[in-house]
């Protein structure tokens, strides 16, 4: 009897399934097929970007390539770029500032969806100025009053709704498991007393969100996103930027590994469990062994431009913009608005010249 050759599931796997061929021999710039989008997106797909600071790079890369980056709360037209940046316009798809935790995203989405009132999060007052506890540095010098701070928060929530309803993909970068809450469980963007507010040990508590809570919060976020836009997809990433500091009592290195591992696991499971959720491995590209930490600045925290470029090359290389475009009407409407304004200005110019000439005539 002829002996059949031994077989096993690994024998048919592609090179990228093996560390030697997929990583060690490929090297950081030879990594292939690291990510391929789950979805066929429209050729003019629109992306909304939110999350921790690394998400800003995705916003910038999409805008720089003139791809469909949705800005639900842009700066007023005519704002110079440096001024827009100073007031945190154009950083994310609305002026949320960094959203570090799933709990923070959930609160903002609840507000945006109308499930929580816009004033359901604290405002911090000091020295005649008011800061938003959800985004304490959104204005360089804070707000002039509580009313102004709430009006601005409402604009942000509107902007977020616009971004969600106008996007095909909601990109969210998970940043931290560690955060701070008040006694009622309202999450803060930062620890009170660091960038606004006053720390009070009796009212403020440290939280290191565990996997189950993060997963539950992200599932709830997905539900709210789909309620606002039934067609939206959620693309998750994990920020490769290490913790600046930990309040967990552990060494910051182990705290960082723990935090990123929990986030990575939650994101991976979300992608496994939901067809409308995908995971993009920016975290692995920056922190993986092939880079030997070369994508970090000397502070071993900030990501160098080449690292960002490499991440974005994988992102754009893995997108499948194969479906027919679907946003032509919106682009046409925007162009029509611009033309109407130009025509109105031209007509007004003519009226201005005539008014002045008549006056000269009178003299």
């Amino acid at each position: 009897m002829k002996k059949t050759p031994a077989t096993n599931p690994y024998m048919a796997l592609p090179p990228q399934a093996f560390w030697r061929s997929g990583v060690a021999e490929a090297g950081v710039f030879g990594l292939r097929d690291l990510w391929r989008s789950k979805w066929d997106l429209p050729a003019d797909a629109r992306f909304a970007t939110f999350g921790s600071c690394f998400a800003q790079h995705i916003s910038r890369a999409l805008a720089a390539r003139k791809m469909g980056w949705v800005n639900g709360e842009p700066a007023p037209a005519g704002t110079p770029p440096d001024l827009a940046r100073q007031f945190n316009y154009g950083v994310f798809s609305a002026r949320t500032a960094n959203i570090y935790t799933a709990a923070q995203l959930l609160l903002i989405l609840r507000m945006a969806a109308g499930d929580s009132a816009p004033d359901a999060a604290e405002l911090w007052e000091a020295e005649g100025r008011v800061r938003d506890s959800l985004r304490p540095t959104i204005e360089p010098d804070g707000f002039a009053s509580r009313e102004e701070a709430l009006a601005s928060r409402s604009a942000m929530l509107r902007g977020m709704r616009r971004a969600i309803t106008g996007a095909d993909v909601f990109v969210f970068t998970l940043g931290l498991t560690e955060g701070w809450e008040n006694a009622t469980g309202q999450p803060y963007a930062v620890c009170p007393g660091t960038m606004g507010g006053q720390f009070d040990a009796t009212r403020h508590r440290f939280v290191n969100y565990r996997h189950a809570r993060i997963r539950a919060d992200m599932d709830a976020c997905l539900g709210l996103l789909r309620r606002l836009n039934p067609d939206i997809r959620l693309l998750l990433t994990v920020s490769p930027v290490p913790l600046t500091a930990t309040a967990s009592g552990n060494h910051v290195l182990t705290a960082t590994t723990y935090s990123k591992s929990v986030l990575r696991a939650a994101a991976g499971e979300m992608a496994e469990d939901h067809a409308e959720v995908d995971y993009f491995p920016s975290y692995e590209i920056i922190t993986g062994a092939p880079t030997r930490a070369a994508f970090f600045e000397p502070n071993l925290r900030s990501v160098v431009p080449q690292g960002v470029e490499t991440v974005m090359a994988h992102f754009f290389g893995g997108l499948r913009l194969t479906d027919p475009p679907r946003h032509g009407a919106e682009a046409a409407a925007e162009a029509a608005r611009g033309q109407a304004e130009a025509a109105r200005l031209q007509a007004e110019d003519l009226a201005c010249e005539e008014a002045a000439l008549e006056a000269y005539n009178a003299g």
């Binding site: 010098d141 002039a144 009226a351 010249e353 002045a356 006056a359």
Partner: protein, 227 residues
């Protein structure tokens, strides 16, 4: 022309100068008007000039116009001792449409009333105005130190809350620089959309009757000498 007697009034600015100039002439005042298209003011490149009072920077044709106007009244656009009404610094028709194009408004009630609007903070508005108007503010600030200057804010053409809020803020910023301002938004009877009998045929300016009303109120307030 050089050697001409000094005027009773100098009116300098954009197309909103016209109604003031016409009204002054109708009152028998020797008024002189320097009109420069609002687009040039909006460029924010006008600057103070140590002799002429005003320079249009690199725009040679405009500078010739400014020089000729100055020469006719002793060498300065803003001669000392002569009341000057300035209708520049606002140019709302150029400033507001782009600002508000995507629903932005600095008025929180206006923002709250419509889901398409986006509130803009006072600090952001100030920075926006400063970016687009700082050169004009500098001219007005320097001129107001040596000349009898009143800035005349434009009339309310459309009662748009965003435009009115921006105009009101410009007035506040000018006054913070100790520049005297006449703002119809603070004047009983002028603080709403321009009445038909005060509206020019083009629909976007005050007419001579409106100009006369402004002059009358300036005179009552002691901001302008009567002819």
């Amino acid at each position: 022309m050089p050697g001409d007697p000094m005027p009773d009034l100098v009116v300098v600015g954009d197309s909103h100068t016209a109604c003031l100039h016409e009204a002054a002439l109708a009152q028998g005042m020797q008024s002189r008007m320097l009109y420069i298209n609002g687009n040039f003011w909006h460029e924010n490149r006008m600057r103070p000039h140590p002799v002429l009072g005003l320079s249009a920077g690199y725009r040679a044709k405009l500078n010739r116009q400014v020089s000729a106007f100055a020469a006719a009244q002793g060498g300065s656009v803003f001669p000392q001792g002569v009341p000057c009404l300035a209708s520049f610094g606002y140019h709302l028709g150029r400033l507001t449409p782009p600002f508000a194009r995507q629903g932005h408004t600095p008025d929180d009630d206006h923002a709250a009333a419509d889901d398409s609007r986006l509130f803009v903070s006072g600090a952001m508005l100030d920075a926006y105005i400063h970016h687009h108007r700082h050169a004009l503010f500098r001219v007005l600030r320097l001129v107001s130190r040596s000349a009898d200057l009143v800035v005349i804010a434009p009339p309310i053409i459309h009662s748009d809350p965003a435009t009115n809020a921006i105009a009101a803020r410009i007035t506040q910023l000018l006054e913070a620089h100790r520049i005297r301002v006449f703002d119809p938004r603070r004047e009983p009877g002028l603080d709403g959309p321009l009445a038909p009998h005060w509206t020019a045929a083009d629909g976007v300016h005050g007419n001579a009757a409106y100009g006369a009303e402004v002059l009358r109120r300036l005179q009552i307030k002691g901001m302008l000498r009567a002819a």
